[in-house]
Symmetry: D2
Subunit: 135 residues, 4 copies
């Protein structure tokens, strides 16, 4: 996976501008990993006996998965770059990841929420790191 | 379509809080319509003889479609509402719609770009109207 | 919404081939409506007191939403048409809509499941109608 | 990435049934990698001087990305498993990956198409392997 993201970045045929390739590749990967973890965590919550106490967690998982998926796609495009769109979706993604991490951390006694919270925190950090590197 | 969005909103079994149902339903629908128009516009651009001049338009169309799709999904959920996530994705969506409308308006001599720009402007407005109605 | 889908189809700048435009536009619209209904139904189920009895319904709703969204996007593209891809995703979409309709019909006493089941049945029919019209 | 997919699978709190965990984890990962590669390849094609000759490739890339994303999400859920839906979306995914691999292989002189074709072939194989392991 790491390999494909980096290989696609390094085979882009035009100028990538001032983008920090390391931070970009990392952020794309963390978005994909976080989207997957959140989708799986929402589903795992559905199989818990106490699902009635986990409805906010399931909902936040689903929002975070949708936003991370959109962010990974936007970041995978470089042609006709628009800094406003990139900044806005990265900000939304960091916001969703932070909210989902906080929610999952409340149930970190369940291993799926603990693993998911860690994926959300890594993605939040990667979004903020990339945001900080944009001009 | 209008009917389904409103019917799903009116059959939600819990309290919707202070949400402006009219603005919410309108925004969900405009997001879905804009996502479809942008996907179709990117494809229509690919069939133009001058596709080489439309690459920025195609790219912005694709970003806008992805972000509108994610926004429609987030807005379709009401359980465990998190105002920060809703605001952040609506802001990203309005930003993408504005950028895509401006780009398509540059090629409004092509009917697909004209129709798509109108869909983007309606969605941008609907996102801003809903944002304005949130507490 | 109906207007935008039809307008984008009628402004496509190249030859659409033998496609039945009426069935195509209808299918795109039903996919978008079904995706929205399923996302909202999964969320509505989360707010029911008996959510523990609705986990299969929530899961099927989410699968159906994801597959309908992908199908609407594929059908919105006409350039470089590949009949094998179109047939395969329409078949998957009809399968998911049928399964989701059957599941929601089991809980049709809840209005959101009743409305969602109707959207799924319309989408299943539209997918099968379009499939039948392909060469 | 590999780690997160496997960790989410191993922390699922209920019975996974007869699923081949190795094939399941591999397939989810290849779907995510293929979706990213296809999104990036469509964008890279837009930056080629000969973009007018690559329109079918761009279109197939976009279809493949959408279908792989939906497949990864469906496979990440285990609650309320429906073999018909899983089989249908895996079949659609293998079909799209095969078509996209064949198209990209025609332009394998461009490095992004070569890398993308390899990702598509791995995903096609992983989908077929998982399909073969289902009862």
């Amino acid at each position: 996976m790491t390999t494909v993201v980096k290989d696609m970045l390094s085979t882009y045929p035009a100028d990538l501008g001032n983008v920090d390739r390391e931070k970009m590749a990392r952020c794309i990967e963390e978005c994909l990993a976080c989207a997957q973890a959140c989708t799986a965590c929402a589903d795992a919550c559905l199989s818990e006996g106490m699902v009635g106490d986990l409805t906010k967690c399931i909902r936040t998982d689903m929002d975070c998965a949708d936003i991370c998926t959109a962010t990974a796609a936007v970041l995978s495009r470089h042609t006709g770059y628009d800094a406003n769109i990139t900044r806005a979706i990265l900000t939304a993604c960091a916001t969703a990841c932070k909210a989902c991490a906080e929610e999952c951390e409340r149930h970190a006694g369940m291993d799926h929420c603990r693993v998911c919270a860690e994926a959300c925190r890594r993605c939040e950090q990667a979004c903020n790191d990339l945001l900080g590197s944009l001009g």
